[in-house]
């Protein structure tokens, strides 16, 4: 379980960095549509999923 937790931690951090980069790029050139294209939306969904899973694992660990 700790491996899954570790993987989700990495996943969330990496996605966080990616979306920060997208937001910065979007400030420079919104027409390139970094934030709201199909790939970004899938990545955002994965980001949300990893965040939720991480939280659930964290809560279950605290319960123990």
């Amino acid at each position: 379980m700790s491996k899954v937790r570790g993987f989700l931690n990495h996943l969330s951090t990496a996605f966080g960095i990616i979306f920060l980069v997208f937001l910065v790029l979007d400030q420079f050139n919104p027409m390139m549509n970094f934030v709201d294209n199909t790939i970004s939306r899938w990545m955002l969904a994965a980001f949300c999923f990893s965040g939720i899973c991480r939280s659930i694992l964290s809560w279950s660990k605290n319960e123990q």
Binding site: N9, H10, T13, A14, F15, I17, I18, V21, Q27, F28, N29, P30, M31, M32, N33, F34, D36, N37, T38, I39, M43
Partner: protein, 406 residues
Amino acid sequence: MKRIVRNLLLDLLAAGLALTVFALFHHVLPRKQESMNIQTAAPAGKTAEGNEAVAAVPAEEPETISGTEETVTAAAETESSGISADAEQASFRPTVLTSASAGKSDTYSRMSSSGKGRNKNGKNGMNSKGGSALAEDSAASGDSTETADSVPIADKFSDFFTDTVVLTENSYSSPDLSITVSEMNEGSLTYYVADIYVRDITCFQTALASDTYGSGFRDSIEKMAVLNNALLAVNGDYYGNTNEGVVIRNGVIYRANPTDCDICVLYYDGSMKVMPGSSFSMEEAIEDGAWQAWTFGPALLDSRGEPITAFSSTNRIISANPRTAIGYYEPGHYCLVVVDGRGESSGITLPALSRLFYDLGCSAAYNLDGGNSSIMVWGDKVINNPSGGGRESSDALLLTEVRDYE
């Protein structure tokens, strides 16, 4: 602590790799895309009586859309719209465009008589509109339906056209086309204005990089100009940067996914409309005979042709930058403006660009891709000073002859 730093570095590396892969698929690797394969045509009522329509008129009987009897044709069968025709057999025929209305004629006389500045009826105190101005009455600007008291452009602009080709250092004229390019210097600002009259709208073309529709295809504007025998070329909207927006090029609808960006549509009858993305309808575009459509923006004049002083965008976008934009006076009369920036020339802010088009006398104007993309090619030479040496683009606006002249 060491472990945290190591993990962070690992994540940074992973994010970098993911971003690289994303960039490759998003817009670096050339990827041919399917167009909607719909060929638009000039509606019968939108051309001068007795004149042939500038349109892809199929050799076979065209099918119609939604039961209308307009000459809406398609290049291939599309299941979604039920439109079908054969673009391969389409033949282009030149036309004489019609001007739209008396109101638009006034715009023309204002520009031609004084060059700059508004007419005596100009309402300078009625501006300060935001980007939403278009939403109030998107049809008011360059309405293509105003043909009641139309005058053939061939007659109206006859002073600008010549029986033979006349080429000078900064101008070109022929029976179908008249272009005059001027370099303007105002303080620290340098910009180029191409004043354009076309009798045949098919002279106003767009080119795709590598002659292919898709993402990741890029060519220099010079190359696209030379390959298409263009007299004048500027960069377009860089449609290949995104999969959203409306892309209509030379009467072919490639994409119709409107976003919240303003859309600029040039019609077969020579009129040009700038509208909010939410107002765009593909069916209407086909019915009205859209010849070109660009998605970038924003609109630079409101629906009444007044300058816009407040744009809803980030300061970085609004601030002084190199710019490319298209202006519309009336059917058959347009201008293309390229502003240099980030060098000896300071560039121009969006409100100042809006004011510039207002002063030029345009009734509608639309911002295209700018920054390093802003390039104007006259003949086969870049005449402006592109920021950073310029960059390749996925498309270009061209003025070219569609008939051969000695």
